[in-house]
Subunit: 233 residues, 2 copies
C-alpha cells in the first residue's frame, strides 16, 4: 500500500481512489435506504462487481466503512448549520435557522443520523484525564457541533439577548440535547409529527420552529419587551 505523497497523482493511485469511491457510493446508496442491517459486504461486493474480500483491501472492516459514511454525513450537517448561522440576518433569526437546519438535515438521512449516535460510551469513573479527552473531543465533528452552539450562546449574551448568568457551555449542551431529541423522536417515533391536534402538512417544520422559540425564550434575558404569542403559525 503506497502512502507517501498525494494518492491520486499516479495512475494506480487514481485507479485505487476510483474503486474506493465506488465502494463508498454503493454503500451510501444502500445505507441511506436500509441502514446498517441492509448493508452486507457480500451485497456490496456484488453491486460493484468485486469479490467480498476485495473490499478489505480498501477498508479494514465494515465498521470503518460505515464510520466513513457517518463522518461524511456529519460533515455535511455541520456545513449546512455553519452556513445558516453565518448568514447576514438578525441574530435570533439566524439562531432559529441554525436549529431548524440541524433537525431537518438530520431527519432527512435518518439512518445516518441514528448511526452517528449508536455507540454506547462506557462510563469510566476516571474523570481526571478529562482535559485530554476534552481536546480530543473538540476536534471531532460532534465537538464542532457543540462549539458552534457555544459560540451562538456567547454571541447572544454579548448582544444582551440571552441571559448572561447562564454558563455558555451548559446552555449549549441544553440546546444540543434539545435538537438531538427532536431529530431522534422524529426519526424513531411513528407519527411524532402528527402528535398534535390539527397537524397540517408542514407540521415538522412548524414544530421545530415552536421548539426553537421555546428554547430561545428560556435563554432570553429576563427583562423583555411586550408580550407576543410565540407559537408557530
Amino acid at each position: 500500500m503506497q502512502t507517501d505523497i498525494p494518492v491520486d497523482k499516479t495512475p494506480a493511485g487514481r485507479r485505487r481512489k476510483r474503486v474506493r469511491e465506488s465502494i463508498i457510493a454503493a454503500a451510501e446508496k444502500v445505507f441511506a435506504r436500509e441502514g446498517e442491517d441492509g448493508l452486507s459486504i457480500r451485497r456490496l461486493a456484488e453491486e460493484i462487481d468485486y469479490s467480498p474480500s476485495a473490499i478489505y483491501k480498501y477498508f479494514e472492516s465494515k465498521e470503518e466503512l460505515i464510520d466513513e459514511l457517518k463522518e461524511a454525513f456529519f460533515e455535511r450537517l455541520m456545513d449546512r448549520v455553519d452556513t445558516s448561522s453565518s448568514a447576514d440576518r438578525p441574530f435570533l433569526d439566524r439562531a432559529r435557522d441554525c436549529l431548524i437546519t440541524y433537525v431537518e438535515t438530520a431527519t432527512h438521512r435518518p439512518y445516518h443520523y441514528a448511526a452517528a449516535f449508536s455507540s454506547i460510551q462506557q462510563k469510566d469513573e476516571c474523570a481526571s484525564l478529562m482535559p485530554k479527552d476534552w481536546e480530543a473531543f473538540m476536534t471531532t465533528n460532534k465537538g464542532k457541533a457543540f462549539s458552534i452552539l457555544v459560540d451562538m450562546v456567547e454571541e447572544g449574551q454579548a448582544l444582551g439577548v440571552f441571559d448572561n448568568a447562564l454558563e455558555p457551555a451548559q446552555a449549549a449542551k441544553s440546546l444540543w440535547a434539545s435538537l438531538h431529541g427532536v431529530a431522534q423522536l422524529v426519526i424513531h417515533v411513528p407519527h411524532f409529527e402528527q402528535l398534535i391536534p390539527d397537524a397540517g402538512k408542514d407540521s415538522t417544520t412548524d414544530f421545530i420552529t415552536f421548539h426553537a422559540n421555546l428554547l430561545i425564550r428560556g435563554l432570553q434575558a429576563q427583562p423583555v419587551a411586550e408580550a407576543k404569542d410565540i407559537q408557530a403559525g
Copy 2:
C-alpha cells in the same frame, strides 16, 4: 401450547413460567451489560443450560425477546416518572423531579433506553389514517410518556405557571424531545457530562437540573421579545 386459563395455575404452567422467566432473567443480565450485540441465542441457551432451539418454544424470535426487555424497562421508567410526578409537593418541584427521574432512569440502563428508540419509522406520506394510529400510539408506553407530559403542561397552565398560549401537545413534544435528547447524549457522547468548565462529581444531575430549569423558564408565563425587534450588530 396451552393458552386458556391462567397459565400459572397448573404445575406445567408454573414450570413453563419459571423457565420463561429464567430466559428473560439471563437475557436481561447480558443485555444490560453488553446490549443486543452481546446477546446471542446460543449464549443465552448455554447460560440457562438448554439447547438454542428450546428458546424458540418460549419466544417466537430474538426480536420478541428483546421487545419484552424493552417493554419491561419502559414500564419501570414510566412507573418511576409517574411516582415522582404525583408526589405531594409544589408543582414546579414535581415537574423538575419528573424530568430528572426520566433522564436518570434512562441513562442508568443505556442499552435498554437506546434499544427502545432503535427502530426507524418509514415515513409514508399518507397522513389521513392518522387518527387510528394516534389512538394506537396512545396505548403504547411511549404514548404514556407523552400523555404524562401533556398532563403536566396542562396542570401548569391551569395553575397559571405556564403560558396559556402554548399548545399543550406541542409543549409536551418539546419537553419529551429535550429529555430524550439529554438522555441520548449522556449515553452516546463520550464525556458529555464533563463538557463544561469545572465539572464536578454530580455534573450529570447538575446539568439535568439546569436543563429542566431552562425548559421551565421557556414554558413560564412571561412577556417575550419579538424576534424582529432585536437586531444583531
